[in-house]
């Protein structure tokens, strides 16, 4: 009897400890179970609803905050019954975009998550399976979601429509992103005897051009901002895919970043460091060095185009992501989608109305002209009444727009330890490329260690 009692107390204690260890508190649904959500009713004209919208854009002063505040103002004018409170992710990172997930977790623990949030594609698996973002197809119906993608006049780029999908349902509406772009300094090209009108198209051409720049101008050749832990893995995935590799198998059951094609791609990047075409620099040194005019080329997201433009002015040029000899380039996307976390049907409907507005033709026109983000309704740039005048004045966006057609998604890693997997992989890449470690064995060691973090059976 006594033994039974002790066993019961022990079991209760173990259960309590296990539950407490989950970390997010009682209000978070258990991992793996899908939220069942029924179709939400339309709001009545006089039904007052308040929602909170969390976006890392509110963390950055200037055009970002001002443009988003302007959009919220326009939305509220069109929907006077919906009050939107904007907020940035809480946290203390220098880059608010890295605080997004911990911020949602902390607010969930306090029982008060935002109703709409802008979250990165690298967090997609975690956002849907752990944070339980609401499936938009269930909330408003698949037709309504697709109707929003089709738009009033200009549909979303085909490759962009499904970036927020999971298991055949749309959870997030892709909002803003870039593909990897080769930016180059036309002045240094000319000084090195290269033709700025003919930028390199392959990695071997990049290496040759970089060595010419270094030899003739004394400046650095190229910086590929895809190869460090700090750069995350969005454009490293593009490098791997462009050589026929993948970082995770298509069924998401096994990691594959130590497979032959990816190792070969990493070795090619390492060769550029060994030949002196690319110096050993971190992300900040690379991006600021390029903006200062100390680098001939950089592979980067268009998010930094404005920063580069301030330093290089008319000498800043752009070209498509370089290819491996004889292989097609596979660009991947950076960026974020909009997700709904509201539980109350009225708030869910208001959240959907906000998402529709923020991804409308009108909003993309404002965002593109005032911040410079790529409009995901790409045909807007052909409309003289839309973004054509802006696109004509900004030829630098061309390679990015063209790459959208053959773009593949930035794949998120599975399970709650997805960031450890990603960081482990990128540390191995960084050690190989910049510290001269053997790519094959370094990536294999990292892959074996990370494999233990992949949920059993994959996801």
């Amino acid at each position: 009897m006594r033994r039974k009692l002790l066993a019961a107390v022990g079991a209760a204690l173990a259960l309590t400890t296990a539950l407490a260890g989950c970390g997010l508190g009682g209000e978070t649904p258990a991992a793996g179970s899908n939220t069942t959500t029924s179709r939400i009713p339309e709001l009545k004209a006089d039904q007052q609803v308040s929602i909170v919208f969390e976006s890392y854009n509110f963390g950055q002063a200037g055009a970002w905050t001002d443009t988003f505040n302007e959009l919220i103002g326009k939305f509220t004018a069109a929907h006077p019954n919906i009050k939107v409170t904007p907020q940035k992710p809480q946290g203390n990172s220098a880059n608010p975009a890295t605080d997004t997930i911990p911020s949602i977790q902390a607010q969930m623990a306090a029982g008060n998550p935002p109703d709409v949030a802008q979250l990165g594609f690298s967090d997609l698996d975690f956002t849907i399976n752990e944070l339980k973002a609401a499936p938009l197809d269930d909330l408003v119906g698949k037709d309504e979601v697709q109707k929003n993608f089709d738009g009033a006049k200009y549909p979303f780029a085909k490759t962009a429509r499904t970036l927020g999908d999971w298991g055949g349902k749309t959870y997030g509406v892709p909002f803003v992103f870039s593909t990897p772009v080769l930016y180059y300094n036309a002045d240094l090209f000319t000084k090195a005897g290269l033709d700025p009108a003919k930028p390199p198209k392959t990695w071997s051409e990049v290496e040759q051009a970089a060595l010419a720049i270094k030899g003739k101008t004394g400046k650095e050749g190229v910086y590929v901002d895809c190869l460090t832990k700090g750069s995350k893995d969005w454009c490293f995935q593009s490098i791997a895919r462009s050589n026929g590799g993948r970082v995770i198998s298509e069924d998401r059951k096994a990691l594959s970043f130590a497979d032959g094609p990816t190792v070969e791609a990493v070795t090619a990047m390492q060769k550029m460091v060994k030949s002196g075409a690319m110096p050993n620099r971190n992300q900040q040194q690379g991006t600021e060095g390029f903006a200062r005019g100390d680098f001939g080329m950089i592979v980067e997201s268009s998010a930094l185009q404005g920063t580069f433009g301030k330093g290089l002015k008319e000498n800043l040029k752009s070209a498509a992501m370089p290819a491996f000899d004889g292989k097609p380039v596979v660009p991947t996307n950076s960026g974020a989608s909009l997700f709904v976390f509201a539980k109350d049907p009225a708030k869910q409907r208001a959240a959907w109305e906000l998402i529709k507005f923020l991804t409308s033709e009108e909003a993309y026109t404002t965002i593109a002209t005032k911040i410079g983000y790529l409009p995901l309704r790409t045909k807007l740039v052909e409309d003289p009444a839309g973004l054509k005048p802006w696109a004509d004045k900004n030829p630098l966006i061309k390679p990015n727009l063209e790459q959208l057609d053959r773009m593949e998604p930035w794949v998120s890693f599975p399970g709650p330890s997805y960031l450890q997997i990603r960081d482990g992989m990128m540390s191995a890449v960084e050690n190989s490329v910049f510290q001269g470690a053997d790519p094959q064995s370094t990536l294999k060691t990292a892959q074996d260690a990370a494999a233990k973090l992949v949920p059993e059976g994959g996801r």
Partner: protein
């Protein structure tokens, strides 16, 4: 002969001490340059022309105030500075008041569990902020104090450092003075404000300055509480950093402005501040 020898010894001792002095000064000069250079670089960058913001030249030329204008255009710097002053002053005053009352009780009376309570008070100093961060955050959420300046101030109102320092000073307070005041018929409350506080004024001033500077520089806690605005200047600084790159010009201009009040406070009250650091044993 003997005299000449003594002179030689004196000379060599004199030279040795001069060498030591010169060596010491050389080390101090190098250390000063190491300490001052980042601050110089901050102001130099803030005064560069916008096109030169990535320049590595030591002298910023031509000088420009555009980054300051840009900072004021992009962020409400004045409001942030006023808010930060409010937070720093109220936090320091609150911590002084709580510290004074607690220290008065611990030093002036004998009561049960006194030592244990004091140890618990001081023990909170050993608990890292990160441990209490989440419970404090949840509590603020329930009290509806998130995104308010009160939310930044209230959880920091008790400073273990303040209690510890003031208790030490009160223990050394002449008991005869307190006895005399009691015999005059003054209440405990009256003694605190008419006898203890006037005598402790230099200590309170020094500690207050130290606490205000700490509150002024605080970044982590306001970053958690103030999610819907950049109401204090340390958060305003961060708003010039982000996914799209760092906006170094206005960032350095705002950082330069943020340092000024502390510099001014330091210049005016230098003696008190050094005193505060020496008394607290902190560096």
């Amino acid at each position: 002969m003997t005299t000449e020898g003594a002179v030689d010894v004196e000379q060599s001792v004199g030279e040795g001490s001069r060498l030591r002095t010169v060596g010491g000064h050389a080390v101090l000069i190098v250390l000063s340059v190491v300490c001052v250079f980042p601050i110089y670089w901050l102001y130099a960058t803030s005064l560069r022309a916008p096109g030169d913001v990535y320049s590595l030249s030591v002298l910023p030329w031509p000088l420009s105030l555009e980054h300051y204008a840009d900072a004021f255009a992009k962020a409400d710097i004045l409001r942030m500075l006023i808010n930060t002053t409010i937070v720093a002053v109220l936090t320091a005053l609150g911590q002084l008041l709580v510290g004074l009352l607690a220290a008065y009780a611990f030093a002036g009376w004998k009561f049960r569990f006194q030592k244990l309570l004091y140890l618990m008070f001081v023990g909170t100093w050993l608990v890292p902020f990160q441990v209490t961060m989440m419970p404090n955050y949840v509590l603020l959420s329930r009290l509806d104090l998130l995104n308010t300046l009160a939310g930044v101030i209230v959880p920091t109102l008790c400073s273990a450092l303040g209690v510890l320092m003031l208790r030490q000073h009160l223990l050394g307070f002449p008991k005869e003075l307190l006895e005399a005041a009691r015999m005059d018929g003054r209440s405990s409350w009256g003694i605190l404000w008419t006898v203890v506080v006037p005598t402790l004024r230099p200590v309170l001033a020094a500690l207050g300055i130290l606490l205000a500077i700490t509150a002024w520089n605080e970044y982590f806690w306001p970053a958690l509480v103030l999610q819907r605005s950049n109401d204090v200047v340390q958060l305003g600084l961060r708003s010039f950093m982000g996914t799209e790159g760092n906006d170094w010009g206005p960032l350095m201009a705002t950082a330069g402005l943020t340092c000024l009040p502390v510099f001014l406070l330091y210049m005016v009250l230098q003696r008190h501040i050094v005193n505060a650091f020496v008394r607290s044993g902190l560096k």
